[in-house]
Symmetry: C2
Subunit: 147 residues, 2 copies
């Protein structure tokens, strides 16, 4: 899993494992962080534009982060990210959906200020069981150089 | 709290209540969604660039969402958001920090395709107890019109 700045190839696509999201987890997350009716209450969700309970978009993003940590981020070389751009919730995520992510390397460049690191721009896309994209974002992260 | 499209004034700033983030909650969230050493392990965090345990950026975003739902989003008029742009983690969030958010209305325009709604662009900024910004993002959300 080690991937220092020098190992990263623009154009490569990495795949993560998968994560099944249950109704109980959707409700538990949303009760804490996003208690809108269509995330926490099945009856209210049935009456909403979604027609059924759906996951908070922040929950979907957090699950993708978990997949990144498990299967993509290298703790030896990762130096964090300052944020993400163009975070999009493309389709609702529903109880029983199984999510997986792809990470495409868009761009890399050495840091001008810090010779120990480089900047890497990636695009993450999360898919459901039907291979439909449900979430995407772009991030600019800092990655350690070998020497 | 009702704010239909017609009620929204560009330039207005709304303030939310506050939310104290504990060490236990930082670790609990991160063990589920972002188990990098500096989010889940005090000793490893002390050795990291942060020097102490810090909250996952997705946790900070989720707490801001909770403040939005409690104190800003009007369930009568809110029609969701397709995503956010320029999400930035500006400063680390630490155990014991108390967060609050400000929401500034940047822009509004009626929908061309749906006469029942309008688009509203806002900027959210989350602050710590020292009134330092720790997170920000811009979102484009759909808001119901009165008629």
């Amino acid at each position: 899993m080690a991937h220092y700045f020098e190992d990263i190839e623009v154009g490569t696509v990495h795949e993560t494992g998968s994560y099944e999201i249950t109704k109980a987890e959707i409700v538990e997350f949303a009760e804490k962080y996003d208690p809108q009716p269509f995330h926490v209450d099945e009856a209210a969700a049935a009456d909403s534009a979604f027609g059924e309970l759906v996951a908070s978009g922040w929950h979907t993003a957090s699950i993708c982060m978990r997949l990144l940590v498990d299967d993509y981020i290298d703790p030896e070389s990762a130096m964090g990210a300052g944020g993400v751009d163009e975070l999009r919730w493309i389709r609702p995520v529903r109880p029983g959906d199984t999510l997986r992510c792809e990470i495409e390397i868009l761009e890399k460049r050495p840091s001008k200020s810090n010779p120990e690191m480089g900047h890497v721009r990636t695009k993450l896309t999360g898919y459901n069981d039907d291979d439909e994209p449900v979430i995407s974002w772009k991030s600019l992260s800092m990655v350690r150089r070998r020497e």
